[in-house]
């Protein structure tokens, strides 16, 4: 499939939004550069998981992981990690899918900007899914194991977001090791929990985020992304014990 790339200037652009709704973008040369990129296949997948029940969100994520893993991450990163590629694809080829699945776009330009042409960073759902798919597909071979790790990402979205938000730990091996450790120690619930009675830490602090924060502080004297799982596990537990009542931790975590 050939995709024409959009020219800058389509964001915060009321006319562009109207033309999208009226299906007039593709026929207007003004919106495009001369660049055209080609990908073998560009199937539909859920692009926004900010709405619906928890179950609906999970299903949407799973579907997105699957499609992105099989059809998009085989392209060069020059495409699948570029904002302009995704925005051009969505606007020029996915209009019908978007209007059908995210009808709120029809009535609210803010929603259009938030769902369709959102900045391509860790808060963008496609970005989240692309990195998870790359990391898991590259490091995990067994198909059942892959499913398990996608599931772990979904069960630990808060810490996943935190890991991909900060450049230092945005790394395939590190993500997979941290998920492995959370799974083995069964500390998913603790990691998600808000830290109470520590007003000094800020409003929405969670144990998992503080663990990553502590690993960050120790780096590079301890190069945690390169540690083996067992050594990293000790580092995680040590960091967690700085915040979590140690007696309580020992009773919950079999080490």
């Amino acid at each position: 499939m050939e995709i024409r790339l959009l020219k800058k200037g389509y964001k915060n652009n009321e006319q562009f939004y109207q033309d999208f709704l009226e299906d007039k973008v593709n026929s207007n040369e003004e919106y495009f550069t001369n660049d055209i990129i080609t990908i073998p296949d560009a199937p539909d997948f859920p692009i926004y998981m900010g709405r619906g029940s928890e179950e609906e969100k999970k299903q949407a994520f799973q579907q997105a992981f699957e499609v992105i893993a099989s059809s998009y991450i085989q392209t060069d990163r020059d495409l699948h990690l570029e904002e302009i590629f995704w925005h051009s694809l969505l606007v020029t080829k996915k209009r019908d899918y978007i209007l059908e699945n995210y009808p709120v776009v029809k009535t609210d330009m803010k929603q259009f900007e938030n769902i369709v042409i959102k900045k391509f960073d860790w808060e963008n759902y496609i970005y989240k899914c692309v990195l998870a798919a790359e990391y898991i597909e590259d490091l995990i071979e067994d198909p059942e194991e892959k499913k398990h790790y996608y599931q772990l990402v979904l069960e630990n979205l808060d810490i996943y977001n935190y890991i991909i938000k900060y450049g230092i730990f945005r790394n395939a091996e590190f993500l997979v090791k941290i998920l492995t450790i959370i799974d083995e120690l069964k500390i998913s619930n603790i990691m998600k929990e808000k830290i109470k009675d520590r007003p000094d830490l800020g409003k929405d602090e969670r144990y998992g985020r503080r663990v990553i924060f502590e690993l960050n502080k120790k780096y590079p004297v301890v190069m945690s992304p390169l540690l083996d799982v067992e050594s990293l596990k000790q580092e995680v537990l040590q960091a967690l014990s700085l915040y979590y009542d140690e007696l309580n931790l020992k009773s919950r975590v079999p080490v």
Partner: protein
């Protein structure tokens, strides 16, 4: 993570500005080759300290290459390893990319035997014990600013209504010139006009490479070993030479000419086929 500033460590770390080592230097040089699917990073580094060198040679420490672009990638290097290959589907260099080499301990390291430290450490270096997985040194940062050579700069398009054929390929001083008799033949104004011109590009590359083989092959041979010839003085040939060596082509011959074109031309036929399919599909 890449170190841009001097960081404080509780033990001596070898860097280009270290105050713990006598005459410290840890120089990294990285050059880049690419083909259709991969980047190959050629790594050359020089560590001033014999102590650190020995740790690397014995495996007690390890060099780790860090490539930071969209995310961080770590590559553990064997003691004599000088290159790594990374598929383009997993690294993109179109934005600024930083590369640094770290030396990391593979076991507890005792600094008592380190003769390369400044005399400041003489009295107590035997007490310095650095744990496993710790940073022992980091290099300068090599930066790629992005945007790799595009084979299309090799070409010029010209319109010549007096032409006695529909198109004509001319090998110019430093470009391959494609003359068209009618503007229509360039598909200007048609969507994907660039892709539709790819068969002409293909023909142009073939013509230029045939001359290249003729010019630089040994008498009576029909191939050129690119590792054996000196850089061509002819500007067009020099561009082709650079393009081929960058894409890891070692030999170009009458027999592999089409293969070479596909290596140096960034999927032109695939793009052409895609454009035609799209056109048929849309029926316009």
């Amino acid at each position: 993570m890449i170190y841009k500033k001097d960081a404080n460590f509780p033990y001596p770390v070898l860097t280009n500005t270290s105050t713990s080592y006598e005459e410290p230097s840890f120089l990294l040089d990285v050059s880049l080759e690419e083909n259709t699917n991969d980047y190959r990073f050629l790594i050359n580094y020089e560590v001033s300290s014999p102590f650190i060198k020995k740790l690397i040679a014995t495996g007690d420490a390890q060099a780790i290459l860090i490539i930071q672009s969209k995310d961080n990638k770590f590559y553990k290097l064997d003691p004599n390893q000088t290159a790594i290959e990374v598929p383009k589907k997993r690294v993109s260099l179109n934005k600024r990319t930083s590369i640094q080499l770290h030396i990391q301990s593979n076991r507890e390291i005792h600094f008592g035997e380190n003769q390369d430290l400044t005399s400041f450490y003489d009295a107590f270096k035997s007490e310095i014990i650095v744990p496993n997985n710790a940073l022992l040194g980091y290099s300068n940062i090599v930066v790629f600013e992005g945007s790799i050579q595009n084979p299309l700069v090799l070409f010029e398009k010209k319109l010549d209504e007096q032409l006695t054929s529909d198109i004509r390929i001319e090998l110019g001083v430093e470009t391959i010139i494609i003359h068209y008799r009618k503007e229509d033949y360039q598909f200007t104004g048609v969507r994907s006009s660039q892709a539709f011109n790819n068969p002409y590009i293909y023909a142009g590359l073939r013509t230029a490479l045939q001359r290249f083989i003729h010019e630089y092959s040994e008498q009576g041979e029909e191939y050129v070993d690119l590792t054996q010839i000196t850089q061509p003085e002819n500007l067009l040939d020099f561009k082709l030479y650079q393009l081929m060596t960058k894409k890891m082509v070692q030999e170009v011959s009458v027999d592999n000419i089409d293969e070479v074109i596909s290596l140096i031309s960034d999927k032109i036929i695939e793009k052409y086929a895609g454009a035609v399919k799209e056109l048929i599909h849309n029926g316009d």
